[in-house]
């Protein structure tokens, strides 16, 4: 099993940390993993992305141009990465702030209104966990218990009281993600 994915959105949206939680979760499941962030000027200019590869085998290139899955969280990222999904691949996006919706017919497209759901749960910071829940619903490549373990590993202990809230956000994401 190899899952090559890109997560892209605004800096500060928790794009990199979503990738990090996924990476830690994969380690908890004894998988190989690479997490390659954008760290360049785009970080300062507002967009951020991270390539995460999870595999049962040794990972070759940590940098790719084609992905099994793209999780897209703003318009710039949609413009940049819609075409990078492999035919038959998966695109998940949050409709918030999207003016041009994805148009490809050869991939599976799901939407998740995570910004809206996070608002309903009165915590904008769990937005990324709602998105992650949506992804794991469509591609359950990591067991839920390992995601919780990964969450514990990636969060500093002072935030561990927030784990139940993050767990709820993951579950919420699994409920609200829907195919287009």
């Amino acid at each position: 099993m190899t899952e090559e994915m890109i997560i892209a959105g605004f800096g500060g949206q928790g794009v990199l940390s979503m990738g990090k939680i996924l990476a830690y979760s994969a380690v908890m499941q004894d998988m190989e993993v690479s997490w390659m962030p954008s760290y360049g000027p785009e970080m300062r200019g507002g967009t951020a992305n991270v390539t995460v590869i999870i595999s049962s085998e040794k990972i070759s290139s940590p940098i790719l141009r084609q992905f099994d899955t793209a999780i897209i969280l703003n318009q710039q990222s949609m413009d940049k990465f819609e075409s990078s999904v492999k035919p038959g691949g998966l695109l998940i996006y949050d409709t918030n702030g999207i003016s041009r919706h994805p148009e490809r017919k050869d991939i599976d497209i799901y939407r998740i209104d995570a910004v809206e759901e996070a608002g309903k749960m009165n915590n904008s910071r769990i937005f990324n966990m709602i998105v992650l829940g949506g992804f794991l619903k469509i591609k359950p490549i990591i067991k839920f218990e390992n995601v919780i373990k990964g969450l514990k590993e990636s969060l500093p202990p002072r935030y561990h009281d927030l784990i139940p809230l993050n767990e709820k956000a993951l579950e919420r994401g699994m409920e609200v993600v829907r195919q287009i």
Binding site: K20, A23, Y24, V27, E32, V33, S34, W35, M36, P37, Y39, G40, P41, I59, S60, S61, P62, I63, L64, R65, Q66, E153
Partner: protein
Amino acid sequence: MTQEKELRLMKGNEAVAEAAIRAGADGYFGYPITPQSEILEYLMAAKPYETTGMVVLQAESEVAAINMVYGGAGCGKKVMTTSSSPGISLKQEGISYIAGAELPCLIVNVVRGGPGLGTIQPAQSDYFQAVKGGGHGDYHLIVLAPASVQEMADFVGLGFDLAFKYRNPVMILSDGAIGQMMEKVWLGPYKERSKDVPDWATTGKTPDRERNIITSLHLDSFSEERFNQKLIKKYEEIKSKEVRFEEFNCEDADYVLVAYGTSARVCQKSVQMARAEGLKVGLLRPVTLFPFPSKRISELSTRAKMILSVEMSSGQMVEDVLLAVNGKIPVYHYGRMGGIVTAPDEVVDFLKSKIGG
């Protein structure tokens, strides 16, 4: 302190820092620069001076940092510095002096694109500087090229061992991608800092021996030439004993890719993609850039049809590949610049264009 190997998920930069503490390093002297500042940040947060006694110091400049390394190395201590391309340029005078004084130390370059201030994104355009000198004078560094976060950690210990074995500065030539990337890494147990004082170290004269003098100054031309010849002898020994490389699918390869570091990871994928299309492609990954695996490349060029050197530069390592192949078969270079990491499919496309032509 644990003696077991420990599994962590870390950035390459963090792995260097943690591995330095575990290798029993005595001192780190650095100055921040993207994309390697996490090394200094990690060490400052880890406070090894409270546990192992390892000194961690942010110097006032790169020039100060390398000269602190010079001083520490002269006392026989396991010392290191890290930087990225523009900072490594500033350190070149000190590196030349350290090589000229035959002192052991570890220098890590997490390469970014250049020349000048360039970009903060990954590149491999410091190959010439690392392998062919960099500073003035006839000298070589031992240059290790990690291709994973695991090797970023492993090469710290290996680098110190080689530095002390040959009394020669060792460079880990990495790049922004490996520095910033997170992967699984198995960390070795914490080693005690060594209490042994090498017999050449300047730690104060004792009555039972002559003074130890460490210098790179030889005003007498014959003395300088004798010293140059001594260095050449050392480099020849290093070339005969320390060449390291790794091969993927080279046994039956018609086309051999040669790539190190991040490009070698990219090329592993290119090999898989090309093989899926029925092309017999292999990869030779130099692990040491000095000494370079010239002999092996020469052997491969007696039965392969073409060699493609892949590097994120305008073509630096390709010159050493050309020397090794010595005209036997065609050699090409491919690589992106400016901080763009070459994509696996681009390498395959370029290779196919050359096979066709």
